[in-house]
């Protein structure tokens, strides 16, 4: 359906992609959109690669897109953006967390973490890199990096007319509302201020 927007959220099990997709879906429903969201459970909890899709529009049929179908890819980990890149349509956008989680073959020294991930992404697609881990750490807890990325996603998709702060407040644990709101705001600022663009030089 031409009026449907497809967002793909990918990362590593335990990074909080599901929380972000549920905040996103709730806000879109409150704004009167038809929404479908699909996630894969199972082995993902044990540090495997995870993906969630959220699609919204007037009427959404399929909960998922195939290769070349996503308008926006949000990757919570650098290398995972490359793993799922084929799912982004040419002309789409990638928001990538400039943050590496080495997978098992890398940890045991069998393989190397790929070099210049963000450079490769930038050469192929409209890419915004966000240092969400650092930003969330500065706010007091690196686990809030998922809401930093969500803030960036809100700016990238132009979904700024939805009252996300109240959606976040009613979704996350009560004790973490302040932290998550701060992370969300920082993520939006990071995108607006163009902080992401300078990051190519700062690859860790």
């Amino acid at each position: 359906m031409p009026d449907t927007t497809s967002i793909m959220l990918v990362g590593v099990g335990g990074q909080g992609t599901v929380l972000v997709s549920s905040v996103l879906s709730k806000g879109l429903v409150a704004a009167g959109r038809d929404v479908k969201m699909s996630e894969i459970h199972g082995m993902s909890q044990r540090g495997g690669s995870v993906s969630t899709q959220v699609r919204y529009g007037d009427v959404v049929h399929s909960p998922i897109v195939g290769k070349g179908g996503a308008d926006v890819l949000v990757s919570f980990e650098s290398m995972e953006a490359l793993r799922w890149l084929e799912y982004v349509r040419p002309g789409g956008k990638v928001i990538v967390n400039d943050y590496q989680i080495p997978s098992a073959p890398i940890l045991i020294g069998q393989r190397d973490y790929p070099t210049d991930v963000i450079g490769i992404l930038t050469s192929k697609v409209d890419t915004t890199a966000i240092r969400a881990f650092d930003i969330a750490s500065e706010l007091g807890n690196p686990l809030a990096m998922n809401l930093v990325l969500f803030g960036a996603l809100v700016e990238a998709t132009g979904l700024t007319d939805i009252d996300w702060e109240s959606v976040i407040s009613s979704t996350v644990k009560k004790t973490t509302v302040a932290l998550n709101l701060a992370a969300y705001r920082a993520g939006r600022r990071a995108l607006v201020d163009g902080e992401g663009l300078a990051l190519k030089e700062h690859m860790r």
Partner: protein, 594 residues
């Protein structure tokens, strides 16, 4: 009220609204959340984890006979376990409505095969419904109870991963109070001794005829007319993919009640369209039956019978249209396989077993659960994984043959606690009764871990949170006649090693129980405590990399400093790595500070 729900949540809601009074399941992806959500309606619904799927369905049949609406939920391979009562309850019929949810897993996201359980409907001769989204999941499960009671049949409710685990909008309704039906004194209808079963046989055929008539008028088998150039017959999630690809350029016969099929409706639809596509994931279930009606169609000649679809696959297969993609080959990336969590009690056990396997001629017969990850590098301590409960029984069969032919190969079975209760007990009985010296290791992590830490008969709590008896695995094993039993802490690698060495010397079946709770279950309510993490003493580490052989996600090797390093954000402090360190450089963080 409108809410965004997964298909599984919607099934639970629909069953609740339909007045279901009893529900049972054995956890299995992608079905698990159905019972977890039904369990929340404590005041109205008895919701239980059964030890396996056969018991699940049998308890549901019992509840139905006693007069209430009852639901059984399981993943598709679970229906194989429940097949025995399933085929027979088709003969007996029901009292309160019976719905059996089969959650299929096209694409094998978390399953050992890709079977298409729609064939159970034709095989067991029972009606079947297939929802396409969450609203339909709710509406159809309510209809399924009506159909079950109207036609006196259990209903197969067939879902797939993308319906179970996708969220879409659902309008909530109120619970319909369904009074308990009379449970008659004469229960011969439910007695399938041959003389009585023979009488039920023609009744079953008569019911199927009536169901075939119902299928023609059933609201879930609907035609959406657009252009007559292309006609599409489809069901389940494939309907959504078809709509996405063809939009309003095609007409649809959208089938929700898929056994028995509405043959006249299919004929009438096919006669009015120029080209007929049949779009369905997995086997040509609809297509074969449509072709039997003498209707030509395009289906599995272009669409694969393997793995799950998406709109791009349907467009490419049927229209030859390929979406442009950004070229990057993900196969060049280091893979990211799932691994045992940091602190997982299975790690130490598989590390020691893997060491034995490299020194001795071993076969390791695994089972279904997290511990199947013991197969992965660097642990590499698992050879076989076939189905629930097969670990000990395959081990027994193999060990008998190795022994008979003088082959010195020994067989070790690994099975989890929940799997042991599921079907592992008869497997162990086999080894005892038929006398092999298989070494059976029960990895008791006090929970059903893989599916998300559900309670089980060994955990001390029911699904609805009531304290209950803890079935003592060691006592069960001894009562079955195993004379050689050892219980070890799997984080104590020396203890594990000694137990394995002890078992290898025995000529009779032996059982090693490794007992330690799942690290995820333990931390559900706890914050991560970095002070409990292990640390590497830089001066001590000689860069030998032996510790990396435990395959822990918290442990890595720094190529710059040529030292092992531990990520305190992840490390659980289990200490398994310290057993591998020849220079005693891995210590608990607090000791390093002292």
């Amino acid at each position: 009220m409108i809410r965004l729900m997964t298909g599984n949540e919607a099934v639970a809601q629909g069953a609740y609204e339909a007045g279901v009074c009893f529900a049972a399941a054995y956890p299995g992806t992608p079905s698990t959340e159905i019972l977890e959500n039904l369990a929340k309606f404590k005041a109205d619904v008895i919701a239980e984890w059964a030890p396996n799927e056969k018991v699940t369905l049998e308890s549901v049949i019992g509840a139905s006979i006693a007069g209430v609406r009852a639901l059984a939920a399981m993943k598709m391979v679970g229906v194989n376990v429940a097949a025995d009562p399933l085929f027979s309850v088709a003969y007996t019929g029901v009292n309160g409505g019976v719905v059996l949810v089969s959650a299929d897993d096209p694409g094998l996201h978390s399953s050992q095969n890709e079977q298409d359980n729609r064939h159970y409907a034709t095989f067991a001769k029972i009606p079947m419904l297939e929802p396409s989204d969450s609203q339909e999941s709710k509406d159809m499960v309510k209809a399924a109870f009506e159909i079950s009671e109207t036609f006196d049949m259990p209903v197969l409710f067939r879902m797939t991963t993308r319906v179970c685990h996708s969220k879409s909008l659902v309008t909530l309704g109120k619970r319909k109070g369904t009074p308990r039906r009379l449970c008659p004194k004469d229960l011969s209808k439910y007695n399938l001794v041959p003389a009585l079963a023979r009488r039920q046989r023609p009744r079953l055929e008569a019911k199927l005829k009536k169901l075939a008539e119902y299928s023609e008028t059933c609201e879930f088998n609907r035609i959406e007319w657009n252009s007559p150039k292309i006609g599409i017959i489809t069901s389940g999630i494939s309907y959504q993919y078809a709509r996405e690809v063809f939009g309003d350029s095609a007409s649809y016969l959208k089938l929700g009640f898929t056994h028995p099929l509405p043959k006249e409706k299919i004929r009438a639809f096919a006669a009015k369209v120029e080209t007929l596509y049949v779009i369905e994931e997995l086997e040509p279930f609809l297509e074969d039956q449509i072709r039997q009606l003498g209707i030509a169609c395009i289906g599995k000649d272009r669409l694969s019978n393997m793995y799950e679809f998406n709109p791009a696959i349907v467009a490419k297969s049927l229209l030859g249209i390929e979406s442009p993609v950004i070229s990057y080959d993900p196969a060049t990336l280091p893979p990211r396989p799932p691994v045992f969590c940091a602190g997982c009690p299975h790690r130490g056990f598989f590390y020691e077993l893997g060491k034995k396997a490299r020194r001795r001629n071993l076969m390791i017969s695994g089972d279904i659960g997290c511990y199947a990850l013991g197969y992965n590098y660097p642990l590499e301590a698992l050879d076989l994984c076939v189905c629930m409960g097969a670990g000990p029984s395959m081990a027994h069969g193999a060990q008998k043959i190795f022994s008979k032919f003088g082959d010195d190969r020994r067989v070790v079975a690994t099975i989890g606690d929940s799997t042991f209760f599921h079907t592992g007990i008869p497997s162990l009985i086999d080894a005892v009764y038929n006398k092999s010296n298989a070494i059976i290791c029960i990895l008791d992590n006090r929970t059903t871990a893989m599916t998300g830490q559900q309670d089980n008969p060994g955990s001390g709590f029911t699904l609805q949170g009531e304290p209950t008896k803890i079935i003592d695995i060691e006592a069960v094993v001894r009562a079955l006649g195993v004379d050689h039993v050892r219980v070890v802490n799997p984080r104590d690698l020396l203890g594990v090693r000694r137990a394995l060495t002890w078992a290898f010397e025995l000529d009779e079946p032996s059982v090693i129980i490794t007992k330690y709770p799942c690290t995820l279950a333990k931390h559900v309510s706890e914050e991560h405590d970095e002070s409990r993490a292990m640390t590497v003493l830089e001066a001590g580490c000689i860069g030998c990399r032996l510790c990396l052989n435990v395959g822990c996600p918290a442990l890595s090797f720094d190529r710059g400093s040529k030292k092992a390093q531990i990520d305190a954000n992840i490390c659980d402090g289990c200490g398994v790595c310290s057993y591998t360190c020849k220079s005693a450089a891995m210590v608990l963080g607090e000791l390093a500070d002292a």
